[in-house]
């Protein structure tokens, strides 16, 4: 299991306006493309080098491919990264101020302390 790679997906998509829209519209295709072409790119490094070993397991891939943010929380993805990206994708679908944020909290309401460890 790689919390780091989950976070890397959330981080790289969140910072790219086109990727935010692409992930909203086609989560499965975006996750597949990202894992094939982006997962091993070393960030903060020149483009000539990459890693060779980073891949999702089936649980992680499914959670990302289905926009399952409660599952991402359970898997220990960094909550700030998940929240920020999912607000960018889905806040627009709610009319009330904070409507999505409150739904987000409700969908996590079955969880209690201690929360899953987010250390990477």
């Amino acid at each position: 299991m790689s919390k780091y790679l989950l976070n890397k997906f959330l981080f790289t998509v969140d910072r790219d306006p086109e990727l935010v829209e692409r992930y909203r519209d086609d989560p499965q295709g975006t996750v597949q493309w990202w894992e094939e072409t982006e997962a091993n790119r070393i960030l903060n490094c020149h483009t000539g080098e990459s890693s060779t070993w980073l891949r999702f397991d089936d649980t992680e891939r499914t959670a990302l491919s289905t926009h399952d943010y409660p599952r991402l929380f359970e898997l220990g993805a960094h909550p700030f990264l998940t929240l920020t990206l999912f607000i960018a994708m889905f806040e627009r679908d709610h009319d009330e101020p904070l409507g999505f944020q409150l739904e987000y909290a409700r969908r996590l309401s079955h969880l209690s302390l201690p929360y899953p460890d987010i250390a990477t």
Partner: protein, 288 residues
């Protein structure tokens, strides 16, 4: 030597800019009182007539990332661009540019290393809302050079709370020994209880009002012993999953000094989190 003319600790609520500039039906009902409180808080810095600002904050996964994560980092650059696309998107924050006080950065890095802090540095740092929010609230004209100090309150493993306090003490010693005639204010921002991306987020108050009450008491009375005896990396999970940002307040208590009561205290109970504002005038009998 330089003079430490003010020590300021504050929450950094990224929605202040949007709330305070909204008009008509867009303006939230809590905005006017919030603006009034921030204006009064701003006056505590203005009165101190600083020349330079040391700004303590924490990058929220903008430039600092898990492939190369520093615990404590000082910016050393002549300029700092500020705010990021996702902060513009979510909070409506404007892009900003700040001047850097590079000679003070150089001094803090050299002397900090020699004082036992293995500080990281950055010569090209784009800063985020943990530092721009207090510029917007406390110095909106953005006319003073800064030294940014970043702490890791975000990506475990984190330094222990006592280490934040020790760094605060060291920053104070170094500011006061900096061979310069500049007037320096140290401003740091963090959180009281806070939940982000968890089941307790965005409630009508902060997730743990009892923690907030105790935290305000610790800070306003300078009760570092009491604070350190109750706060640990483990204990900070209970008030809310983002409450480790409180350690930046502990750093600022270290700057202000053990037992040093704040000269100005204000709070504002908002949705999601409690705002808290503190100012110390360390060297002039509580006067600016």
């Amino acid at each position: 030597m330089a003079e430490l003319v003010a020590v300021i600790a504050s929450t950094h609520h990224p929605f202040y800019y949007k709330a305070s500039t909204a008009t008509g039906e867009e303006r939230p009902p809590f905005a006017d009182e919030w603006v009034r409180k921030v204006a009064a808080f701003r006056e505590t810095l203005t009165k101190a007539r600083p020349d330079v600002l040391v700004m303590v904050g924490s990058d929220h996964f903008h430039q600092l990332w898990l492939d190369n994560m520093p615990q404590f980092l000082i910016g050393k650059a002549p300029h700092y661009d500020a705010n990021w696309y996702n902060e513009e998107r979510e909070f409506g924050l404007p892009r900003m540019v700040m001047r850097g006080q590079e000679d003070l950065s150089t001094y803090l890095l050299r002397e900090g290393l020699d004082a036992g802090f293995d500080l990281a540095f950055s010569n090209e740092l784009r800063i985020d809302h943990s530092i721009t929010c207090p510029i917007i609230t406390l110095r909106p004209q953005n006319d003073l050079p800064i030294v940014p100090v970043y702490t890791n309150i975000f990506a475990p493993p984190l330094p222990q709370p006592k280490r934040f306090v020790q760094l605060g003490r060291t920053i104070r010693e170094l500011v006061e020994s900096w061979p310069s005639d500049q007037r320096v204010a140290v401003i740091g921002t963090g959180h009281l209880s806070l939940e982000l991306g968890g089941p307790r987020q965005f409630g009508p108050h902060g997730p743990d009002p009892e923690f907030d009450r105790k935290a305000v008491e610790w800070i306003s009375t300078g009760d570092l012993d009491g604070c350190l005896s109750e706060v640990s990396l483990d204990s900070l999970h209970a008030p809310g999953n983002a409450t480790h940002g409180f350690m930046d307040f502990m750093l600022m208590m270290g700057v202000a000094g053990e037992g040093r009561k704040a000269d100005y205290v204000d709070t504002y109970d908002l949705f999601h989190t409690m705002e808290a504002y503190f100012t110390w005038y360390p060297n002039n009998g509580g006067q600016p």
